[in-house]
């Protein structure tokens, strides 16, 4: 479904992504793990079009989308839950969700998806008229995920969904990610919480200072000694 070939990204003179390649197949959960500053978020932002690549290719279903704008990529079925949630704090829950469907014109479908999001996140349904900035961190994460689902994406990018959340909530969020995946959405997950990410991922890539250094199935990497030492504290 998604294929990245030899992607290079620069911030000024800093070479942030050094020719990375990765693939996400239809229906998979793929995770990208690594330490702070490894380039995980930059990878996601380049894939979703918020950052321009210096060279390399991004293919979605075989089509080259490297030169497309962020909004064209959303139209093609990509959606992002940005790092740090970034909900629209002065708007209500409902308004946030409606903005997630900004590019869609099918009112009936939007309404249906709104119900779907409320089913998946009952807490949002209770708070649909509440101002998003007054939600707890976990609820804001759910809102950001619901908002991203409102564009009815084929592939969903999640950037550090566990950031700043209590362990119990992290488990809840990861359960929801699994459910979203089961209902047919392909997922690319960027995480620092490697043990949680590896548990739910079909495959995983490990990044270090702008390059992919390891890849394999979630299970393989969870067993690997290097990974245990570096990321799982074993």
């Amino acid at each position: 479904m998604l294929e990245i070939k030899d992607l290079n990204v620069h911030f000024g003179v800093i070479h942030a992504l050094k020719g990375i390649s990765l693939t996400v197949n239809n229906g998979e959960i793929v995770t990208l793990i690594g330490a702070n500053g490894a380039g995980k978020t930059t990878t996601l932002r380049t894939i979703s079009g918020l950052k321009k690549a210096t060279s390399g290719q991004i293919l979605l279903d075989g089509n080259d989308i490297t030169a497309l704008s962020a909004q064209d990529r959303v139209k093609m079925g990509m959606s992002q839950v940005p790092e740090g949630r970034r909900v629209f704090t002065d708007m209500t829950v409902l308004e946030n969700l409606e903005l997630g469907a900004y590019l869609r014109r099918d009112r009936a479908g939007i309404k249906q998806d709104l119900e779907m999001v409320y089913d998946r996140f009952p807490r949002l349904a209770d708070r649909r008229r509440q101002i998003a900035g007054t939600l707890s961190g976990g609820e804001q994460q759910m809102l950001a995920m619901g908002r991203a689902l409102m564009s009815r994406p084929k592939i969903l990018f999640l950037d550090e969904p566990s950031m700043g959340l209590a362990p119990l909530l992290v488990a809840e969020i990861f359960d929801i990610i699994k459910e979203i995946n089961k209902s047919g959405t392909t997922i690319l997950l960027v995480e620092q919480n490697a043990s949680m990410a590896l548990q739910i991922a079909n495959r995983a890539y490990v990044m270090e200072t702008g390059s992919i250094v390891l890849s394999g199935t979630g299970e393989e990497l969870a067993q690997s000694d290097d990974i245990k030492k570096a990321y799982l504290g074993g």
Binding site: F88, D90, M91
Partner: protein, 330 residues
């Protein structure tokens, strides 16, 4: 009974208040209580309402900090004056208004397109520079009569015209904000990155809101040039841009009714202080500082004024009194 029925119609609730306002002022003018001196204050307030509401669209709702609103105003004023000096009568007036608004919108597009692509405060510097360039151009070309400005301008603006333009532009901007494009603009203010990842073309909507704001400022300038007999480049300097910004911040960034209340309150304050010419600016500044200390979010914050709000405030006051009387009993 009949009055009560009328009060409950939604259309009346929406527009009843402003129609009553129109009728009352019209009556006061025809009876002669509101003389020319007071009317000049009303015109200034009306023009400031348009300027503040339109700057609020750019700065308060879309989140783009602009320091050049007086520049757009001066373009509107000069284009309109040049038209009304050549085309007589009401057609000239309307053509002038249109020319003023359109010219300001075109300049808004030219300034906005390159600068609104950039993130950060580039727009503030670019618009500041733009307003200065416009002022210096008007000071040095022949058709605007240089620093002396244009004088003997024909007067068209009466209460009805003023009311029509102020109410029309306010309704235009409120409707724009409630449209889906308006929502997109607000989401840009809230979080540019999130808006972009929702698929919102942020440059396009920033430019759209900037052009609408510039157009309205042009109309405000054109109203100025069809009421006051003289326009000079100095009238539209940096200080005027700051004045408009003060009204917007004072009323509340992101509140249309706040901008209206701000323009009216500050307009009345400067009228009342007019007799103390020496102390006027000092008192004005002190008042602003005091209000900003006690209400840093502006008079209205980002909320809108409504009858429900008055009701709540009334209930709170009521509650206070009740508490007091209970204490007294004890």
């Amino acid at each position: 009974m009949k009055v009560k029925n009328l009060m409950e119609k939604p259309a009346f609730r929406k527009f009843g208040g402003i129609i009553v306002l129109y009728a009352v002022v019209q009556l006061l003018i025809s009876v002669g209580i509101l003389n020319d001196y007071y009317f000049a204050t009303i015109v200034t307030i009306g023009i400031n309402v348009i300027l503040a509401v339109s700057l609020n669209l750019i700065t308060g709702f879309t989140g783009q900090f602009s320091l050049g609103h007086a520049g757009f105003m001066s373009i509107g004023a000069y284009f309109c004056a040049i038209v009304t000096l050549r085309v007589p009568g009401i057609p000239g007036f309307l053509l002038g208004m249109l020319a003023g608004g359109a010219a300001a919108a075109v300049v808004g597009l030219l300034v906005g397109l390159p600068t609104l692509r950039l993130k950060g405060d580039y727009l503030a510097i670019a618009t500041l520079g733009m307003a200065e360039i416009i002022r210096i151009v008007f000071q040095n070309i022949e058709i605007t009569n240089g620093a002396a400005g244009l004088s003997n301008l024909p007067k068209f603006v009466n209460w009805s015209w003023l009311f029509l333009f102020v109410a029309g532009i306010t309704v235009l901007i409120v409707n724009f904000l409630h449209s889906s494009i308006g929502r997109a603009c607000i989401s840009i203010r809230e979080d540019e990155i999130a808006a972009e990842s929702m698929g919102i073309n942020i440059t396009r909507y920033k430019v759209t809101s900037f052009i609408i704001g510039a157009f309205c400022a042009g109309i405000a300038g054109a109203l100025y040039a069809t009421y006051f007999p003289i326009i000079k480049p100095d009238t539209f300097g940096f200080a005027k841009s700051v004045d408009i910004l003060v009204i917007v911040v004072f009323g509340g960034l992101g509140s249309i009714t706040g901008s209206i209340v701000g323009a009216v309150v500050l307009g009345l304050i400067s009228m009342l202080l007019a007799s103390w010419t020496d102390l006027r600016m000092v008192i004005y500044a002190i008042l602003l500082i005091v209000i900003m200390i006690f209400r840093p979010q502006g008079l209205m914050g980002s909320r809108e004024f409504s009858l429900a709000m008055l009701k709540r405030a009334g209930e709170q006051l009521n509650g206070l009194f009740h508490k007091k009387s209970k204490k007294e009993e004890n």
